[in-house]
Amino acid sequence: MKHRVVIIDYHLGNLFSVKQACEHLGCDVTISSSKDDLLEADYAILPGVGAFSDAMKNLHAFGLVDGIREYVATGKPLMGVCLGLQLMLSHSTEFGQTEGLDLIPGRVEKFDFSSRNDNVFKVPQIQWNTIAESRPWKDTPLQCCKSGDFMYFVHSYYVIPSDDADVLSQSSYGGLKYCSSILHRNIFATQFHPEKSGLYGVNIYAEWLKINSKS
């Protein structure tokens, strides 16, 4: 059976590579800004690159803030990538404070390495970095990975979930350990880009689809 995947389009960032990864796995992919399409999906993905506040503004404009909350309430799987992860938190410190989707309690902060005075750790972090298990990955979408696997990251902000139990993996940049993926009920989200992390990364989408098709 083909998985019906809706990639949520709120006119920010590039959806091509996420679509490419899902199609590579044989999914039936729809890119849509419509709440109705979203609610009909078996799987939904919230991608995104860009500014948190612009993203929230666009999600509101498309009626997708309520749409995503309603979708999550159905218990169907939602996956977030990069900014898509950050948007799920309660709020971001970008430009003062911006409210997020508040699906996961916690906040979003900017990397700040200015106190190092050596300008070694640039912001955004743009690099392949390792992920480490912060709770067992068995029966999670990361079960195909092992601690120390490299994934592709591009971000200036990182998430701080209020509940450590939501943290699925950690990564480290400039000596700062931060949350690089979360699993919270039917929500799975990564700070890194699995669709840009080679076939190892694409496998994460496959695991996410597989795990959720069982339940």
Binding site: L12, G13, N14, F16, S17, Q20, A21, H24, V49, G50, A51, L83, D118, N119, V120, F121, K122, V123, P124, I126, Q127, W128, N129, T130, F150, Y152, V154, H155, S156, S171, S172, Y173, G174, G175, H193, E195, K196, S197, G198, L199, G201, V202
Partner: protein, 291 residues
């Protein structure tokens, strides 16, 4: 790098840079005298499967001619490779960026349009996110020791001083800078370490070093001494591919391929090596990179 500090979680990217003219991968010396090397998709595929952290297509004549063939090359590559793909050359408008992304690029690289209209960087970064916007700076050393930025692949001087320009580029919202030493490009003499370090120190966004490596040791050098955050390699890996790994791609290549067919394995000052060779060398030099 300073002794006694841990940089374990700083991971250097090795980026395969492919210069494109029409349907072909080309390589030139000092951005002149282009040689046809083969079909870019073949090279890109090989690099993707053999450890490249990113792919970077630069259309070297796009500012002068149309560039439909690049779109096709980008689409074909993006469908098959799941690593970041940057596309540069002839990006002059928001619509050009949108088209490049739609074809499958993850980032676009801007040079000429950025220098002519610096606000374009800001507009593009606001629209697509900083991390989508790479600004290329092509630097040529002047008699007074300063570096000036050039446009149109080193053909036209602008009188813009490089370090000041890099700071402005970062302030305008670019996500990365690729700094090319036009003087070293294709020479095999090594990256311009002084130039790279000046730019890398001046900005708080990642800086990609480009132009000049003739052996794998040069790549290690521009990281440890030039403080590059990422490195772009072209001739080194292209000649390795041609000399050691190329199959029957000549048949599908258009243009002058006599250079390829000469069967040579020596390429002037350049000692070819694979991405794996480079990464093994970085690893031995205690520079973190993805295996």
């Amino acid at each position: 790098m300073a002794v006694g500090q841990s940089f374990d979680d700083k991971v250097i990217r090795v980026i395969a840079r492919l210069d494109i003219k029409g349907p072909n991968l080309v390589k030139g010396v000092l951005l002149e005298g282009l040689r046809v090397l083969g079909k870019p998709e073949d090279f890109a595929r090989f690099y993707y499967e053999n450890g490249a952290d990113e792919l970077f297509y630069q259309d070297v004549v796009a500012s002068l001619y149309e560039r439909n063939s690049l779109q096709e090359i980008v689409s074909a590559t993006a469908r098959k490779s799941f690593i970041p793909l940057t596309v540069g050359g002839g990006i002059r408008s928001i619509n050009d960026i949108r088209e490049a992304l739609r074809a499958g690029a993850d980032k676009v690289c801007i040079n000429t349009a950025a220098i002519k209209h610096p606000d374009f960087i800001h507009e593009a970064a606001s629209k697509f996110g900083s991390s989508t916007i790479v600004v290329a700076i092509e630097a040529i050393r002047q008699p007074d020791g300063l570096y000036h930025a050039f446009i149109d692949n080193g053909r036209e001087m602008t009188g813009v001083e490089v370090v000041g320009w890099a700071k402005r580029v970062a302030a305008l919202g670019a996500g990365e800078i690729v700094i090319t030493s036009v003087d070293r490009e294709g020479t095999g003499l090594g990256y311009d370490l002084g130039l790279t370090k000046m730019v890398a120190k001046a900005v708080d966004i990642p800086v990609i070093a480009h132009g000049g490596p003739g052996k794998k040791e040069h790549v290690g050098e521009v990281i440890s001494l030039g403080e590059a955050d990422a490195v772009a390699v072209a001739s080194l890996i292209h000649y390795d591919f041609i000399a050691n790994r190329q199959s029957n791609m000549q048949s599908r290549t258009e243009g002058n391929i006599s250079y390829l067919q000469s069967g040579r394995t020596q390429f002037g000052r350049i000692t070819p090596c694979s991405i794996k060779d480079i990464k093994n060398h970085l690893h031995d030099s205690h520079i973190s990179c993805r295996p």
